[in-house]
Symmetry: C2
Subunit: 420 residues, 2 copies
């Protein structure tokens, strides 16, 4: 399924590059050459039936890199996986949902190591090639009496990608999958990813997890750089509630099975590959924001004319993070001063007298002066399931986007009663 509309302008390279790339909605990670996955219901989630444990496996050791939460309180699997990925290599990821294995002391650390060891033994690979991720409630020990037989019973399948996307869900109402296909060195390269939760810097209930796999060959150092840059333009620009999780993890595996010449910064297709990887990550980020706890509306904030791209992203993210903006969107209340207010405290450079602002097609401010608008049109611009807000700071050429959702009674209901 070819969907060029998914490419936001700020990721777009030249049209020549795009000629070789297509986004694939709902791509499965097992659509990528050399990857299999398996999932089971181990009994970690309380509902008694949902998938809650999975393994993502590359038939050969893959080049690997990850970015992890900046929270100083970090779950055991985060500490361990970050350490293991330093060698730039990984062959399997074992993931559980329903328990974050965080604030669990020494026993939590031993439990995470045990998950790795059991997975390595099952697959007949070296434990140093396995990483682990967990998501769910904090401060409760993992039920290892269920996790251990669970790992043992997993069957890896060449069509197991969609199940893996479901197995990592917690309060998500929909699984999140995205992918892209492109040609490099005459070879077809596929990238696919799954994600859960609602945030990287600002995650949701407990955690954002993202796993991207590709059959491209990529140089380890370049992959490490790419994953950080892709996160900055995707997961780091998405928020549900402003809480930074203890477990956030984004891990990328590149197993080289497509047979291209390893991509590094000097490869002629480096920019195209980065664009595609970032586009897949951004697709997943938008899906997370759209599925934010209790959300009824998706919000995209576009900032142009900032002094640089980082400042544009900062301003855009402050807007989608603002409880006041989020509630105003929920109530379809065109109380647009809150948007300007949020950009003002974002840390981005802004001069009120230069700002242009609109919601959908309704102009609210030009050059810092209030524009008369029809209130019904303003309400209408906030009335649909997709709300677009646009600002030009008129200070430079920086462009950035951020994604979020409205704040509703549903969020309160879900989070006031999560462990109960």
């Amino acid at each position: 399924m070819y969907n060029r509309a998914h490419f936001p302008p700020c990721y777009a390279g030249s049209s020549e590059e795009h000629a070789h790339m297509e986004l694939i909605a709902d791509a499965a990670i097992t659509d990528v050459t050399g990857f299999t996955a398996g999932s089971v219901h181990a009994g970690i989630k309380k509902d008694g039936q949902s998938l809650d444990l999975c393994i993502i496996y590359s038939l050969v050791p893959a080049t690997a890199a990850g970015v992890f939460t900046r929270n100083k309180v970090r779950a055991a699997p985060v500490t361990i996986s970050e350490q293991r990925l330093k060698n730039g290599r990984c062959q399997a990821i074992v993931v559980n949902a329903g328990n974050a294995n965080c604030c669990t002391g020494k026993r939590g650390h031993a439990d995470a190591e045990r998950m790795i060891d059991l997975t390595a033994r099952k697959l007949g690979i070296d434990p140093s090639d396995v990483v682990v991720a967990s998501t769910g409630v904090i401060g409760v020990h993992l039920p290892m009496d269920r996790v251990e037989p669970g790992i043992d019973s997993i069957v890896l399948r060449s069509d197991g990608g969609a199940d893996a996307a479901r197995a990592i869900m917690t309060t998500d109402t929909r699984s999140k999958m995205a992918g892209a296909r492109l040609r490099i060195d005459g070879k077809t390269i596929t990238i696919a990813g799954i994600a859960k939760g609602s945030g990287m810097i600002h995650p949701n209930m407990a955690t954002m997890l993202g796993f991207l796999v590709t059959d491209a060959a990529v140089a380890p150092d370049y992959l490490r750089r790419l994953v950080g840059e892709a996160a900055d333009e995707s997961f780091n620009q998405m928020t549900v509630d402003g809480d930074t999780s203890t477990n956030d993890s984004l891990i990328v595996l590149a197993n080289g099975q497509a047979g291209n010449r390893p991509i590094d910064s000097g490869h002629p297709a480096a920019a195209t590959f980065k664009t595609a990887l970032t586009a897949v990550a951004a697709d997943l980020a938008r899906a997370i924001a759209r599925d934010g706890e209790g959300a009824t509306k998706f919000i995209e904030m576009i900032v142009e004319g900032a002094v640089d791209a980082a400042d544009a992203r900062r301003a855009a993210k402050a807007v989608v993070s603002s409880s006041l903006v989020k509630t105003a969107v929920y109530g379809a209340d065109p109380n647009w001063g809150r948007i300007l207010c949020a950009m003002g405290y974002s840390g981005a450079q802004i001069e009120e007298s230069k700002v242009d602002l609109r919601i959908g097609d309704v102009w609210l401010m030009r050059g810092g002066e209030i524009q008369a608008f029809d209130r019904d049109q303003g309400v209408s611009a906030l009335g649909g399931p997709d709300v677009e807000i646009w600002a030009n700071l008129n200070l430079g050429s920086g462009v950035g986007r951020a994604w979020g959702c409205d704040l509703t009674e549903g969020y309160i209901d879900i989070n006031g009663r999560y462990t109960t």
Copy 2:
């Protein structure tokens, strides 16, 4: 009314100092020698009856200082008042509620200047001795056809303090007043203040406004230092929703009518005066948190054992700012991992393996290890209108507090429909 219990330990000096000080609940600013106030309903608020315009007046020019929002988008009255207070002198404050005069361009600036000029003319004082503050909706021009006759009709009264506290309210459900009395140089000194809204760094709907007056004589440079320090331990440690307003203003006037020797850093009672001023500010800050939009519970977070006081305040504030903590408190859900998570991303130094944590009397963690607790006791510790959370980071001697409220459906209802 003597109320020692109001002094939080982190503000408390020696008991000898306290022997000369008492807090006065519901003190009026007009209880302070040489201050009068007057309020009217000018028609800026839409309800057709509430007081929405007031003047606070000192019979003689007072030493003055203020701290203002760090938002880069700032209302016209903020820019103007900050500039005017640079000379350290003020005799009158004119305040309106119902309209923030923010994002209102050049006309907004002219309107704020006009409020000052009208007030100065009415009082027969120099416009350079008048400051202005506004709170309410952003992005709408002030209805000057109502403000102008409103200012003209204000009658200053020696018992007008309680009305002034009401005139500055917006979505507040209760007016906020606090005061303290102490002896310095054999003279009785009174401090009293009023406040509205819900935040200084993290304010509410549109604005936190605070006005403190005292009959003490205080050296201008010392008052400037004091107001910043007092704000750091009071209004800056309180949050409702994490949005930093365009209009936040804290202004202190000291008119010297008590006849003490001007207080500066070398005065033997300097520490006592600072403790009293901070205590009054903290009383107002707690009252704002308690009256947060839609709040049903007041949350106090106490952090001990941080590397320093600033780090302790940082960690405490992150906890009361967390949407996940706030919803868990609302739902009386002892999901305590969220508390540790918030301290982890606060920026404060923290080592999980050293943390002690309890909610009320229920221990949750000691030295980073989970403590078994009775779930009913945990629910009960979160069940009342006042929730106290305590942590010891065991890294140093820094102590800090922060105040907030739960996040409820009521917040969403109020903020989804504010301008409508």
